[in-house]
């Protein structure tokens, strides 16, 4: 049972709280050894509950979780040998940095000399060598984050879990730590399950992203997959930005289709859910994939230009009352692009996806 592709397996795992709240419904997921998988979703989507069940702090109401072929059902958290980084680090304030990091080794009765070597090694890994005798309260947020990371890695767990570990850091530090965690993952080869509600973080760091919604897995795939080929209109909205238009499928040719939007436009798209001619759909297009020109496509009026430094966001109003956002690189903005200008918007069929017709702004 050393199937590397099935290192962690969620098999029809369900978590129901008293009062009938379904936190997780029928989760099926396989995580390969050495993989970096991110659980992404809004709060209450079940991602943290799933992580806590894997860590052993929540018990599944039904289904099985296996780690390296062994069922975890009756293994208490302290015997699972899983490293975990908590949301607010959960460092022990009464211990020094070195004592914090040595904690998992001292509870395992590791010999003193080995502990010393391991602590030094992992302090070096997270670049905190000079801080060993400080108390957590004397460290900055980023340094505390590194200590928590070091403490979760020092006992060489084959699996490390992280529950929104960067949530408390400011943006620059967060981006820096993202890269650092990614490098540490690559260097150590551990399997990493990472929970976040930040889609940018998920795309930057992961091998695969599992998107949760209302306790269900909405889509699992590589960052490229979930961004370029969202399987549902929820994923298209949640990961990155997208323009979404309701419409009816008029024509299907293999994977391609033609959709008549409710505002009257007829547009090409890739058919991304099982539906035939006449079915309702939502067409989703990324703002950076819409091309503006004077001649080609549907007419629209520039309502607003918003300058973002590296790019410009263009808010367009179509005759039908529909609104769409377009992203244009700052240097690439044509001269005629200014407020009130009438122009035409179009996209290639392969850049639009005809998705399930759940209404855009009411996530069920």
């Amino acid at each position: 049972m050393t199937d590397a592709a099935r290192f962690v397996v969620f098999d029809k795992v369900r978590k129901t709280y008293p009062g009938g709240v379904h936190a997780v419904r029928d989760l099926d997921l396989e995580i390969a050894r050495g993989e970096f998988v991110t659980f992404l979703g809004p709060s209450g989507s079940g991602k943290t509950t799933s992580l806590m069940m894997l860590a052993g702090f929540e018990t599944p109401s039904a289904g099985d979780i296996t780690l390296n072929g062994k069922a975890l059902a009756n293994v208490p958290p302290y015997r699972r040998n899983i490293g975990m980084v908590f949301q607010n680090y959960a460092l022990f304030p009464h211990m020094t940095v070195a004592e914090n990091i040595a904690f998992p080794l001292t509870v395992r009765r590791t010999p003193r000399a080995e502990i010393e070597a391991a602590v030094l090694g992992v302090l070096d890994l997270v670049q905190l060598s000079g801080m060993r005798d400080r108390r957590p309260a004397q460290l900055s947020g980023g340094q505390q984050q590194r200590v928590a990371l070091a403490r979760a890695l020092v006992f060489n767990p084959p699996l490390v879990l992280m529950d929104e570990p960067l949530g408390a850091l400011d943006r620059q530090l967060r981006e820096h730590m993202q890269i650092e965690i990614k490098h540490i993952h690559a260097r150590l080869g551990v399997t990493l399950v990472y929970v976040t509600h930040d889609q940018g973080e998920a795309l930057t760091m992961s091998d695969r992203v599992a998107i949760f919604r209302d306790g269900r897995l909405e889509q699992v795939g590589s960052p490229l997959d979930v961004y370029e080929r969202p399987g549902t209109s929820f994923v298209a909205r949640f990961v990155g930005e997208s323009n979404q238009f309701a419409g009816t499928i008029r024509e299907v040719r293999g994977e391609a289709c033609v959709v008549e939007l409710d505002g009257g436009w007829t547009v090409p798209a890739m058919l991304a859910h099982a539906a035939g001619v006449g079915a309702r759909t939502i067409v989703s297009v990324r703002p950076e994939r819409i091309r503006l020109s004077a001649s080609e496509g549907a007419p629209a009026r520039v309502a607003e230009l918003i300058y973002h430094g590296d790019h410009i966001r263009v808010r367009l109003g179509a005759e039908s009352g529909q609104e769409l956002f377009v992203k244009i690189l700052s240097g690439a903005a044509p001269e005629w692009l200014r407020p009130e200008a009438i122009l035409r918007a179009a996209w290639r069929g392969e850049d639009a996806r005809a998705l399930d017709p759940s209404p855009a702004d009411a996530p069920r």
Binding site: R80, F92, P93, H94, F103, F155
Partner: protein
């Protein structure tokens, strides 16, 4: 002006409270404590005698002039309050002094005649003893260490040296030690009972924790007297506890649960328990669940995680709770008075006794001062200890 104005208004805001606590709290306590070193009664009744005695070297007997001065002054205060107060004060030192002094005053001949010392000795032979006069000299004020020494079961002998009082009169050191011991026991039991409860309260979700917290607070808001009286009902010989134990067959003879140490401990632990639970709860609430979870995810069994991670972090709450309970217990009065036997009375019982019944305010003040000093010292020791070993938060 711009800077002094808010300061002035700040002072005005706290002025009423300041005056109130100064007048109602600080001043009476200070006056009461001053009493422990003041000795005004004898000097008030016999000012010139007191001055004479201050000059006396303490050997043999005072000069005959001093004796005749005393007789003159004794005649002058006969039947007044002043002689009565002075007699009370002297009686506290040597029992029987009060009746001797009052009888002497009554039996003094109207006119001076003959030797003053002889006149006194004829009325009562004790006027011929040196110890009578040294006692008067000790009481002639204006300041004295008599009460403070007495509060520690010490006295000055006729030569002015500090010596232990006779064993049958030595009570206060024993009472202080008893007070300390009972307070330690109560604090220990409160911690033992309060810690798990506070832990439960802190780990439950609010909708369960809040009603439970109210159950902790309701007794806290109830008068100590009511709760103590309730314990009398429960613990007495034919009370509910004994009745229940006998009905389920655990005991045959009723247990003596009241008017002894057991009853005092039960009732005091119950009364003071909220003072332990509340600071523990607030500290534990701040710790949260995460450290325990983190410790377990790192491989610590629940018990080890508790010992190495949770307990040290809750130490501030343990310290605060123990200090609150212990210091409250040191001054406890009502509960031991109502539920304890003669051998369970704590120091505040004696303070109340000397304040209300024998009006020996000097001794009451001295006992209070020593209790206050002991409490202060313990607090300082605690503060030092918690600063020396506390986490650098």
């Amino acid at each position: 002006m711009r800077r002094t104005l808010p300061q002035l208004s700040n002072w005005l805001l706290v002025l009423p409270l300041f005056l109130f606590s100064a007048g109602i709290f600080v001043a009476p306590i200070a006056l009461m404590l001053l009493r422990s070193v003041q000795d005004p009664e004898l000097a008030a009744a016999f000012p010139r005698t007191a001055a004479e005695l201050a000059r006396w070297d303490g050997q043999d007997l005072p000069r005959p002039e001093a004796m005749s001065t005393f007789i003159t002054e004794l005649r002058g205060v006969r039947g007044t309050d002043r002689i009565s107060f002075a007699a009370n004060r002297l009686n506290a030192d040597i029992s029987g002094f009060r009746s001797m002094l009052l009888r002497t005053a009554r039996m003094l001949p109207q006119a001076d005649g003959g030797d003053a010392a002889e006149t006194l000795r004829r009325i009562d032979a004790r006027w011929g003893e040196r110890s009578t006069w040294t006692a008067m000299r000790r009481a002639s004020g204006p300041v004295t260490d008599y009460f403070l020494l007495a509060a520690l079961d010490l006295q000055r002998d006729d030569d002015g040296a500090v010596a232990a009082v006779p064993a049958e009169r030595a009570v206060f050191v024993g009472v202080f030690l008893r007070t300390l011991w009972v307070s330690i026991l109560v604090t220990g039991f409160c911690l033992l009972l309060g810690y798990p409860l506070a832990y439960l309260l802190a780990s439950l979700p609010a909708r369960y924790a809040n009603p439970l917290l109210v159950l902790v607070l309701i007794p806290f808001w109830t008068s100590v007297l009511v709760r103590t009286t309730a314990w009398i009902v429960l613990l007495q010989r034919d009370g509910l506890v004994n009745g229940l134990l006998r009905r389920i067959g655990l005991i045959e003879q009723p247990l003596t649960l009241i008017y002894n140490r057991t009853g005092v401990l039960i009732a005091m632990v119950h009364v003071l328990l909220p003072l332990m639970i509340l600071p523990l709860y607030s500290v534990m609430k701040g710790i949260g669940r995460a450290p325990m979870l983190a410790a377990m995810s790192l491989g610590a069994r629940p018990f080890e995680a508790f010992l190495r991670v949770y307990l040290p972090q809750s130490r501030a709450g343990i310290g605060a709770g123990c200090l609150l309970v212990f210091i409250s217990a040191l001054g406890y009065y009502v509960t031991p008075e109502l539920i304890g036997g003669g051998g369970d009375q704590m120091i505040s019982y004696f303070i109340a006794f000397y304040t209300n019944r024998t009006t020996n305010w000097g001794l009451a003040g001295a006992l209070s001062l020593i209790l206050l000093l002991a409490t202060g010292l313990l607090y300082i020791a605690y503060a030092r200890l918690s600063r020396a070993t506390g986490p650098a938060r």
